[in-house]
């Protein structure tokens, strides 16, 4: 019933996390910088995106399309991931 059902032949199987994060995180996943979360309407918290990019990268590597040599990247940035 939602309008997002239109043009069903065009629907992607599953929303790619990286595309979703581009949209739901202000500023996008790839900007070298930070996202801003608005907490309690006045306190603004800035979060480094480095951890996020590391997250996305590891998720992409774990993802269903494991046909590319994606896990070989030399980058191991600010790892929250162990």
């Amino acid at each position: 019933m939602s309008a997002y059902d239109l043009a069903p032949e065009l629907r992607q199987r599953d929303v790619a996390l990286v595309d979703l994060l581009d949209r739901v995180l202000a500023g996008g996943v790839v900007i070298a910088g930070e996202i801003t979360l608005s907490i309690a309407d006045v306190d603004l918290v800035r979060i480094s995106l480095r951890a996020l990019i590391a997250s996305v990268r590891s998720l992409a590597a774990d993802g269903p399309t494991a046909d590319g040599p994606t896990a070989e990247g030399p980058v191991a940035g600010g790892g929250a991931a162990p």
């Binding site: 019933m1 930070e34 907490i39 800035r46 480094s48 990019i53």
Partner: protein, 273 residues
């Protein structure tokens, strides 16, 4: 103690919330808060997990980030196309703060809602389609008496071809964006996603978002197909969507300027710039 997570804002109406809205970011059942003829779709989330510090910590956990981002998206999608989607991670201390937000920015919300009515967002990404320049150069060139020089020349011409191919593909990506922006009410570009995030080795040259009226959705899709055909071998074009209009739905609170405003106070400033 709980905080109030904000998913979406819509005009208050007789049909408040669809009955089948899925659970939210904290597995809570989303509900509504109303003020000034507006309705906010919210969820109660446990403060210990959604406090600023805790959120920051959680965002470094890939599974947590993915689970909550997808949950946010599911709720927003279920609420439907009349709602203004709110960015992930917008948390208020309590419902009263949300009511205050609606009241303080009622006109702004109504304007923003009018701007997205009957429209959805489409994403179009374009990658360079690369033919391996080394492979092309490998075969030609018969063995000669100065193999070193010949090798260097081959390498150089391969590099020149690669540079040219990239320039050409980038220009084609600009054309794709211009053509699609012409069919859209609004358009914007997200930064290209890095190969590390996409798992695609070819460079992304366009990561566009387009707000398209429902009456033009089919035309838009046809145009994407046509552009793919037109720029075929050089460029690979990918359509995603329809999306809630996340890319065109900034809160009318001056949040757009928040990044600058927070810059002065932010303790964890620019480590990636």
């Amino acid at each position: 103690m709980t905080y109030t997570w904000l998913y979406a804002v819509a005009r208050a109406g007789p049909d408040p919330l669809p009955p089948d809205v899925p659970d939210g970011v904290a597995d809570e059942g989303p509900r509504t808060v109303t003020a000034d003829g507006l309705l906010a779709v919210v969820g109660s989330v446990p403060a210990p997990d959604f406090e600023a510090d805790a959120l920051q910590r959680h965002l470094g956990e890939p599974q947590w980030l993915e689970r909550t981002a997808r949950a946010h998206h599911r709720v927003v999608t279920a609420v439907g196309s009349r709602a203004l989607p709110v960015r992930y991670g917008t948390v208020y201390r309590d419902d009263d703060r949300v009511r205050a937000l609606l009241t303080a920015h009622a006109d702004g919300f109504r304007t923003a809602l009018a701007g997205i009515t009957d429209r959805t967002e489409w994403g179009v990404k374009a990658y360079q389609e690369r033919t391996d320049p080394d492979a092309a150069a490998e075969g030609d060139g018969p063995p000669d008496d100065r193999p070193g020089t010949a090798y260097l020349l081959r390498r150089r011409s391969a590099r020149d071809r690669a540079d040219h191919a990239l320039t050409d593909a980038a220009e084609r990506a600009r054309q794709v964006h211009r053509a699609l922006a012409g069919l859209a009410d609004r358009s914007t570009e997200h930064p290209p996603q890095p190969p590390e995030a996409t798992g695609v080795r070819e460079p992304m040259l366009l990561n566009g978002a387009y707000l398209v009226h429902r009456s033009r959705a089919a035309e838009f899709a046809r145009e994407v197909t046509g552009l793919q055909r037109l720029h075929g071998p050089a460029l690979r074009v990918e359509l995603t969507g329809p999306w809630p209009p996340y890319s065109f739905a900034d809160l009318p609170t001056g949040e757009a300027g928040a990044a600058g405003a927070a810059g002065a106070a932010g303790p964890t400033g620019g480590d990636a710039e």
